[in-house]
Amino acid sequence: MSEIQNPPVDRGQIERALARHKDRMKLYLSHCMHCTLCAESCFMYMSRDKDPQYMPSYKVINSVGVLYRKGPGIGRDDLQKMKGIVWRNCVLCTRCYCPVGVDVPAMIAFARGVLRSQGIHPDFDEQGAMESWL
């Protein structure tokens, strides 16, 4: 892929995007008990043979969790992987339930915003774009 189609991550911009709700997101991440009780509340999980990658907790840990773990130094390939998690694996129907009270939809929406700040978002007009997400 050419440099124009795959530009490097804009460190300053992603840093600003990550700082916006840092305290709230980090609180949520630290209080997710990894108990998986949220799984059944996700219709994607239920309709995909209970594949763990559709669990709400899996989706936030592997999007927002990775964003904060890697920070502004995150690679574009990581962000591309995240695109599939937060747009294809989640439709943001906001029906997920967390016993502790972690606001999963807010986290997914936040991850989408961070990805958009890097120009990464689904392009529904592009032929075959949907299949190439993951």
């Binding site: 709700h21 305290d23 709230r24 609180l27 630290s30 209080h31 997710c32 008990m33 990894h34 108990c35 998986t36 009780l37 799984a39 059944e40 209970k50 763990p52 990658q53 669990m55 907790s57 899996y58 840990i61 339930y97 967390c98 016993p99 502790v100 009270g101 972690v102 606001d103 807010a106």
Partner: protein, 246 residues
């Protein structure tokens, strides 16, 4: 070990409780600073006494009704407040995961009840502070400790063997579980004089204090944040009035 025990059972206790309480206050204030006041959502109250069916009605003659439907029908026959309580419970994670719900409720109830109602702890409290709380016979506390450890073992089993739980389990999750179980395990061994008593009781005191100190600053913080998130924050699943929002 003697010096460690002397510190841990003396100033260490005050230090641990001070850090525990100060940590909870700091985290609580932090939550208040991060959130803002908000008017509660004005939702109409649910219609009285109506419990919608839990699942589509079974079709065909002689079709057996699901257990959930039969439970709800029985609750409705009992009238209020049973229909409300059971109707609500059947729509929560209690119906989706009955075993895990029982495990986690037992685990958390015993986590608080056992150390607070333990006779030995209350004797120490009476000696140092001049007052004590009600206490249970040692045999009862012993059973409670074993039950607690079994619940912990069940959590560990989930983490290791259930595919979905394993998919998101990190070493940190195991660390948190060990931190929680260790005071109970060492206390159990010390009480039954298994292993060298003085070492075991020192480990018991130190691990208990470590757990207290770690509560506000680690994943164990859900002890406080569960109430903040589920009661104070505005949201669909809020137990409270949701007077605050991020």
């Amino acid at each position: 070990m003697g010096a460690l025990y002397a510190f841990a059972s003396g100033p260490g206790v005050y230090l641990a409780f001070a850090l525990f309480l100060a940590g909870l206050v700091v985290q609580g204030l932090r939550f208040y600073k991060l959130t803002r006041a908000k008017d509660p959502l004005a939702l109409p109250p649910p219609p009285a006494g109506v419990v919608p069916p839990a699942s589509p009605p079974a079709r065909g003659a002689g079709a057996k009704k699901p257990l959930l439907d039969r439970l709800l029908a029985a609750a409705e026959a009992m009238g209020r407040p049973f229909d409300r309580i059971l109707g609500t419970l059947c729509r929560t994670v209690a119906a989706t995961h009955p075993v895990m719900t029982m495990l986690t409720v037992t685990f958390h109830a015993l986590l608080f009840a056992t150390p607070i109602l333990l006779l030995a702890h209350n004797v120490l409290l009476a000696e140092s502070a001049g007052f004590h709380l009600p206490s249970l016979p040692d045999s009862v506390a012993d059973v409670m400790t074993v039950l607690f450890l079994l619940c912990g073992a069940a959590f560990l089993y989930r983490r290791v063997f259930l595919r979905r739980v394993r998919a998101i389990t990190t070493p940190y999750d195991h660390f948190v579980l060990v931190v929680t179980l260790l005071p109970f395990f060492t206390g159990f061994l010390a009480y039954h004089q298994i292993g060298e008593y003085r070492t075991m009781i020192a480990l018991h005191v130190v691990s208990g204090e470590a757990m207290l100190v770690l509560v506000p600053f680690t994943r164990l913080g859900h002890a406080l944040f569960f109430f903040l998130y589920r009661f104070l924050l505005d949201g669909e699943y809020s137990f409270g009035q949701g007077r605050r929002a991020f």
